[in-house]
């Protein structure tokens, strides 16, 4: 099942990419044209299938040109920067043969490492030899996550707010829901603006930062347009035209170049640039600036009979009339705009007819301004510099009261006059105006995964299905795929991995699958980070991964022989077999040395009845030794019987426990204390037979040999033997003693 269903899956889109070129003349390269700043890719090493996911395609070959691409409208060239920047050293590299090797990251399909290799200069070496740059360059097909850390954190907080919104009281009411969505959308825009500001504050802006600023501006333009077109509906009363105008002026502001030219101009009235700028100001509804512009061409004259001066007075009057006309334009927020608007249009028309000047250049320009103001589509589109300017001006001046659904009908004349640039942003904007949101989002894919995923998520929360298309939109199906695509690089990021997992929590279908794949791959070198990783497993019911991670931690401690921590972690993971193995290590240590080495370890582990049986056994066995040391023989005998009866320890160790019974039985006989019952003695004899079972003979014999090194008469113990005779003899004696006492 594909996570990313396509309209037409046959079309494999190609994202060509290049490397930042070192200062070399590539035209002299034989067989290799314009490496590396071309749309061609040279494969020198491994190309993984992972890379061939959705929007990139690479062929295979060895150091040769492998694929050429046709520039489709959807294709965008992407420059990949080597990190750190590659510095060409002509003393080191031959200018005639040089290439770049690529290795892809094992888990991150869009990250790879590069290295440069090639021939050394002939002047330097006599024989032809290949050399390899010692520097490994990190590259990523995705943006630099580190520089976006603050933005991603801020955006995640808003994403969570959006996720919670449907659970709030306000959500039930339609108007409140729209307000909530608008607020959330506004918060996203604020986050984008803040990031642009922080990028602009960087003193030295390299190409990468400039690209980032440009991407974020595109994101802002698309997001804001969506907000205007889709999120604000019932709350707005004839506000679309002004909203669009504000959007255009904020996202695509007028440049300052024309102003610099005009500053040096001696006669503004006759300067084409002046009028061109003035048209733009009028088209964009920037009326205060337009009025200032018009005032700047009013000439101070005295009333005389001089014909030239009178002409100036007439021009000044016309300028004043145009300014008055601009000032009197009705504001579209008032309720009586219909009547006011018609009145104002007739005033405009009258003024237009009354303008007759000797200077035809001026006359044409004044008439054109009035035509724009009165919404003449030809005049508007003729003077617009782009389709966006033309469209927004048309809506503002011709259809100031139009609704979002009406915008589509105004697009026809705009696209007859203008062609839309094939870049993804322009294409996406065009489709937003057409209200083809699914298509628009498919272009956002080429702009930024953050934009795509977050915009889709928020749009899914609106009632777009009802308002546009009247059918189920594809974005609902795509939402989760887009979110996963965005979150995937975060999962392996050294800092933002928690945010990545939080995003996956909102992907109901596939989120858990991705979590399972990545959670075990997060490196941890201390317990605090380990606990944070475990929390992710706990929150998402990843029981198996949780156990694996705890086991890894336990094993890490096992390797450095920190047994208390190992036991704790293995207990948490339920690793009973491993705990049994640790238990056996401790018992072996006892057999070797006769000392309880694990006392401190057990001190650190509170044990209860629910604890693992091996650990419980160790705890009881240690208790037995403490009781013996403190001369609590009756209790010690009880604990020893418990240890034997539990049958938890390895069978050969039962022999050791049986050896422990000998001094207690002797003591019991000597002092006449009943430490064991008759049934216990019978059990001891049974256990003796079990220990002497042929099947465990080898391990039993080895154990006795090791124990004999310290367990003999001279060290205060008794002499032990492989056949357990001391135990058997003592059992017989104790039994007889019991019977004797009983008969007495």
């Amino acid at each position: 099942m594909s996570l990313f269903p396509e309209h037409n899956s046959n079309i494999l889109q190609f994202t060509p990419f290049t490397f930042e070129p070192p200062p070399v003349d590539y035209s002299q390269f034989e067989g290799i044209s314009s490496f590396p700043s071309s749309t061609q890719f040279y494969e020198a090493s491994v190309i993984t299938e992972a890379f061939l996911k959705e929007d990139a395609y690479l062929g295979k070959g060895k150091g040769k040109q492998v694929e050429e691409n046709d520039l489709k409208p959807e294709t965008r060239k992407q420059t990949i920067f080597l990190n750190p920047l590659f510095k060409y050293d002509s003393n080191f590299w031959s200018t005639s043969n040089q290439s770049t090797g690529v290795k892809f990251h094992p888990t991150r399909s869009k990250d790879f490492a590069c290295y440069v290799f090639g021939k050394e200069p002939k002047e330097k070496v006599k024989k032809e030899s290949f050399t390899l740059d010692t520097q490994i360059y990190n590259c990523s097909l995705v943006h630099d996550i580190d520089s976006r850390r603050v933005f991603y954190n801020e955006a995640f907080s808003i994403f969570r707010e959006a996720a919670r919104a449907p659970f709030s009281k306000e959500w039930r009411e339609k108007s409140m829901r729209e307000k909530l969505l608008c607020d959330i959308s506004w918060n996203y825009v604020n986050a984008i603006v803040n990031h642009i500001k922080s990028l602009q504050e960087i003193p030295i802006k390299d190409k990468q930062i400039q690209n980032e600023i440009s991407t974020f501006r595109d994101m802002m333009a698309i997001w804001e347009l969506c907000r205007i077109m889709y999120f604000i509906k019932s709350e707005r009363y004839q506000r679309l035209s002004t909203d669009l105008l504000t959007w255009l002026n904020e996202c695509y502001p007028l440049g300052e170049e024309e102003l610099n030219e005009l500053r040096d101009s001696p006669n503004l009235r006759n300067t084409v640039t002046f009028w061109s700028r003035l048209y733009k100001l009028i088209l964009r509804g920037l009326f205060p600036q337009a009025i200032n512009f018009l005032r700047s061409i009013i000439m101070a004259v005295e009333i005389t009979s001089d014909q030239i001066i009178n002409r100036e007075i007439i021009i000044n009057d016309i300028i004043q009339s145009v300014i008055k006309c601009i000032k009197s334009r009705p504001k579209m927020s008032s309720y009586d705009t219909g009547l006011a608007w018609r009145n104002w249009l007739s005033q405009c028309s009258q003024l237009q007819k009354s303008i007759i000047l000797e200077n035809k250049f001026l006359e044409e320009n004044f008439i054109m301004i009035l035509k724009i103001l009165s919404g003449d589509p030809d005049a508007i589109l003729a003077k617009s510099s782009s389709w966006l300017e033309g469209l927004v001006a048309l809506v503002y001046h011709k259809y100031p009261k139009c609704e979002t659904s009406d915008v589509r009908s105004t697009l026809g004349p705009v696209f007859i006059r203008f062609s839309v640039h094939p870049d993804p942003t322009s294409q996406a904007l065009k489709r937003i105006f057409y209200q083809r949101i699914d298509d628009a989002l498919s272009y956002c894919k080429h702009i930024d995964p953050w934009l795509l995923s977050h915009l889709t998520d928020l749009l899914c929360k609106t009632d777009l299905d009802e308002t546009i298309g009247g059918k189920s939109l594809l974005l609902h199906q795509h939402r989760e795929g887009y979110l996963i695509k965005f979150a995937e690089p975060l999962l392996t990021h050294s800092t933002l991995w928690q945010v990545g997992f939080k995003y996956l929590e909102h992907c109901e279908k596939f989120g858990k699958v991705f979590m399972e794949e990545f959670v075990g791959k997060i490196p941890f070198d201390n317990e605090r980070k380990f606990e944070k990783i475990l929390k992710i497993c706990e929150d998402n019911g990843l029981k198996f991964d949780e156990k694996c991670i705890i086991t890894t931690m336990g094993t890490k401690y096992m390797q450095i022989k920190r047994y208390a921590s190992t036991i704790i972690y293995y207990m948490r993971a339920g690793k009973d077999e491993s705990l049994k193995a640790i238990c056996n290590i401790f018992l072996t240590q006892y057999v070797e040395s006769g000392k309880i080495m694990f006392s401190e370890v057990l001190d650190s582990i509170p044990v209860d009845k629910n604890s693992n049986e091996s650990v419980n056994f160790l705890s009881r066995y240690r208790l037995y030794h403490s009781l013996i040391q403190d001369e609590f023989y009756v209790q010690a005998a009880q604990v020893l019987v418990e240890c034997l009866r539990s049958e938890i320890s390895p069978k050969e160790f039962w022999g050791v426990l049986l050896f422990h019974t000998v001094p207690l039985m002797k003591l019991g006989r000597r002092k006449g204390i009943k430490l064991f019952e008759k049934i216990h003695i019978d059990e001891f004899i049974y256990y003796c037979s079990q220990v002497l079972d042929k099947r465990i003979e080898d391990s039993w014999l080895k154990l006795v040999q090791r124990m004999k090194r310290w367990h003999y008469k001279e060290t205060g113990y008794f002499d032990i033997s492989e056949d357990l005779n001391p135990v058997k003899i003592e059992c017989e004696r104790y039994k007889k003693n019991l019977e004797k006492n009983h008969s007495v």
Partner: protein, 376 residues
Amino acid sequence: MDNLSSIYDLLGLSTKSTGGKISKVRFDNTKQEFESNEVLFATGSWDTPKENTLLLWNVEQVSFGLGEQPSLTFSVLGKTTHEGDVTDMRFIGDNILLTSSSNGSLNAFQIINTNTSDFMDQSVGTSNYQLQMIMNRRLHSFTDTKNASLNSFAIKPHSINDPLVATVGEDGRIVIVRIEDSVKDHVIEDADASSIKAILWPRSNEIILANGCGQLRIFDPRENKPTTICHDCCYSPINIRVPINCLAFHPSKVHKVASGNNKGGVTIWDTRKLTEPEKHAQPHNSRVWEVFYHPYYQELLFSCSEDGTIGAVNFADFTPTFSTQDSMNAVKGQNVTIRKIGFKSNELPINSIDYHPHSKLLISGGDNENLLYTLI
């Protein structure tokens, strides 16, 4: 996941970007300048390989009058890199900031007021302070090549002029050092067989440790063996072996200690009678990373947790309610008032909190890379 609990009382914690996940926040409580509106504090980051940072901050309060919330202006005064995650931090006298690291080292930074533009750090704005490392000692390791995280440190009471510092780490050792000397005063090799999470030094002859197995251990620093070992099995049987992550002093009663555990519980202990904990509450549903007592309202215990919230537990009305069932809900003190403080929709962990009583400012930092603060 999306249940909005009724006790979830969101207060307006504002945010400042710090450029890294914050692991510690600490006020400089060494200076008592009541006339000054400026308060210094430091933040330390974690999980930013090769570029963990220490930031020295200044917060200035401007009051607009009675009843009005003062306006707070935060600014970064100085910045330096920190090797390894910052695991603990404390200001000591003579403008020294002590930090501990996940690479097992104890560091001391001298705060130097340069007042010149030479030390301006462009990335953090105006900076008149330099944080100069004056000590870096690797004290905790498993082997010669494998470092153990230094989890916490405590300073011997009344030794501020020549501070004696006890450090604990994942290697289960207590190392007692003097800042001035390069020699380790005393090393208790096997203070704990598991990792030690937190340490307190309330009295000259008493060091309290919390370990990864849910135990509290009391040591006489002159001895190598603990005098008392106890664990929380009274209020919640499920708390057995649940790691204790943090400890805090009571502001006036030297025998009272608060702890926070891995399951979101906070416990009050009386060190004179450690057979069972004194009080227990469950303000969080996940790991508690830090606790502290309010300096004036001494029954009020603040905690911060992996669940992304700050809890304020009022133990004034605590009446113990014991249960025979092994249920988390059944064992907490029912009469305890718990108030939760959070930031917007933040779900990312809050790792550290601190309170400045004079300015009534509570600051906290966590994994959302923001400094969160509120006036309480």
